[in-house]
Symmetry: C2
Subunit: 343 residues, 2 copies
DNA sequence: CTGTTAGCGCATTCAT
DNA sequence: ATGAATGCGCTAACAG
């Protein structure tokens, strides 16, 4: 039963309970000492009035809000919702909430987004990857020096983090897959990716992959990257196009969506996998395991990356302490090559 | 270059520009009248100081924050990230942000979550489905009467919305699929679902499905719902279990993940689809189109549902006006049965 | 154990 | 066209 026009405040609760507003604050936050009688009266009054705490006011009064900013490159594949899920779980445990935005893998959008998110005075900010424009870095540096905003970059650990990076070694994952394909006897390899040159993590994997491939006597015979987002349909189409003109021993895809699409093309067209062509993806989505042939891929701990990042941003774990005292740090959560039936 | 200890405020900008704080507010918000000279000086001072607007203070001062609360049942399948994406795009256009939480398809968690999200004084709240506990409804009613919080329920339109519902007719989608299967000559049908009895939308589809099936001379010979989340792997396993003891003409799944998993089982085991068994899903995920056989499914406009809901919550479109003046309303965005190769 | 005072940063209102 | 005063709802710091 809230009042008609203005919302119920601690003052209203206080009046009803016959105590001061400050006492209500103490009871509701379980801070300081309060007597049992007073506590009961306040609780009763609060619930009778349907009192709802105003976190905006709390956030203004305290010097940081219980919000954490989260920048995601996209919501369009399974990877980032999983990261977000991990972040959200970790934040929830600490009584925090995420405000998030999507950059669409675009530096300019990321910059605008970071500025906007910073206006919520978040206690921390999470960014995808280690590459950011100078302006983005400057905006973040401002927040860090002005209010000690925590910064965590996720997914990638190949480079210099602003503060802390939580992720997996991308180039090494690429190298590992190259060595695997070579070991299986594949030499002439094609690469298929998406998101143009904007997906820096994929680019790093490809670099490592190409390097180890050359070192082992293999050859990257073709590399194609579509402009749009990745999807099963796109992977299927790109694979069809590729195989219509080229006969690689294997195809390395920038992720499992594309690879699964490629496998669909092969299944639908009676192309023997891995006899005629081997296929490998990246991420270890559950689809990789459920296909008629288990897809060879690199499993990444996406939920864990988000969860760990969330804990650091929440600021209440050992990792966070270490991170804040010893400067730039890297947390490698490790990836794992899963040899399936497609290579 | 913010000051060392406390963050830069409008007051700091004002001092530097030699004007009053109020003038800075007007310039930065482009409200009221300001002279060109003053505007330039303020803009310059603001950017030199790296000023960041404090939206917490704005939210406290104005009677509602530029936040919208979003409750999602899960982040674990493709559907809700897509809805979230739509919501986020609509809110971004209006300069708003989402604070979200995940209920895990659980009434008690939803209730706690709604209370928590309401403490951000959101101008609106989005909920999944039309079924909510009495306590949840009460908490929302309080916010509505105290501060005119907008409420939009998404996905389902079969029932009484609190205020506005945006989604598709679930029972009718089920009926439509039953008629389709009957038309293709399938009579003995099995149903496979997930999330126990907590996914009310799936339950409604099944109800409509069973009803139309009976009416058309078909028969639901078995119905199994697993407790956990849906996934390809789960669908594959459930299908294997089912077919090991029963030979239905067709299987209707509660969603495409399960159905695609079922198809994987059939492909992997040489079971002819739809010859030996037909398969149908729900949602129209892109996976449905990329499989070796195109999956028969019901396509739902998930992004659009989110986007439309976001616009209403932002409160700046015609739909929203109508919604607020004419009481409970339903916006049917329509689903579409897509006949693929699996039926 | 409880109350009083003050102010977080901003925008509304009223002056000028 | 600009400025001064005021208060949104809350909690830290100090009284008592």
């Amino acid at each position: 039963m809230a009042k008609d026009n203005s919302r119920t405040t601690m003052g209203d609760v206080a009046a009803r309970a016959g105590v001061s507003q400050m006492t209500v604050s103490r009871v509701l936050n379980k801070s300081g000492k309060t007597s049992q009688t007073v506590r009961d009266r306040v609780q009763k009054a609060a619930s009778e009035l349907g009192y709802v705490h105003n976190r905006l006011a709390t956030g203004l009064r305290m010097r940081f809000s219980p919000l954490v900013a989260v920048v995601l490159p996209t919501l369009g594949n399974r990877v980032f919702p999983e990261v977000l899920n991990g972040v959200n779980d970790a934040l929830s445990e600490a009584g925090l909430r995420a405000v998030f935005g999507v950059s669409e893998y675009d530096d300019a959008q990321e910059e605008a987004l970071v500025r906007d998110l910073l206006s919520w005075q978040p206690r921390g900010i999470l960014l995808p990857g280690l590459e950011h424009s100078a302006a983005t870095r400057a905006a973040i540096a401002g927040a860090v020096s002005a209010s000690g905003t925590r910064v965590v970059e996720v997914m990638d650990i190949d480079g210099d983090p602003i503060s802390v990076a939580v992720g997996v070694a991308q180039a090494e994952a690429g190298r590992e897959m190259a060595r695997h394909l070579l070991a299986r006897g594949h030499r002439r390899i094609a690469y298929l990716g998406a998101q143009g040159d904007r997906d820096r993590r994929a680019a790093k994997r490809l670099e490592g992959f190409a390097e180890a491939l050359r070192a082992g006597g293999g050859r990257l015979i073709v590399s194609r990257v579509s402009e749009g987002p990745s999807s099963l349909a796109e992977g299927r189409q790109m694979t069809a196009d590729l195989l219509s003109t080229t006969k690689p021993h294997a195809i390395y895809y920038s992720n499992d969506d594309l690879a699964a699409g490629g496998l669909m093309h092969c299944l639908a067209n009676g192309i023997d996998v891995p006899g005629q062509v081997a296929l490998a993806g990246f991420n270890g989505l559950d689809i990789a395991d459920a296909l008629p042939l288990r897809l060879t891929t690199t499993r990444t701990p996406r939920y864990q990356i988000g969860f760990q990042a969330g804990r650091i941003l929440a600021g209440d774990d050992a990792g966070a302490q270490m991170a804040s005292v010893s400067g730039p740090r890297v947390i490698d959560l490790g990836s794992e090559l899963v040899a399936g039936d497609t290579t």
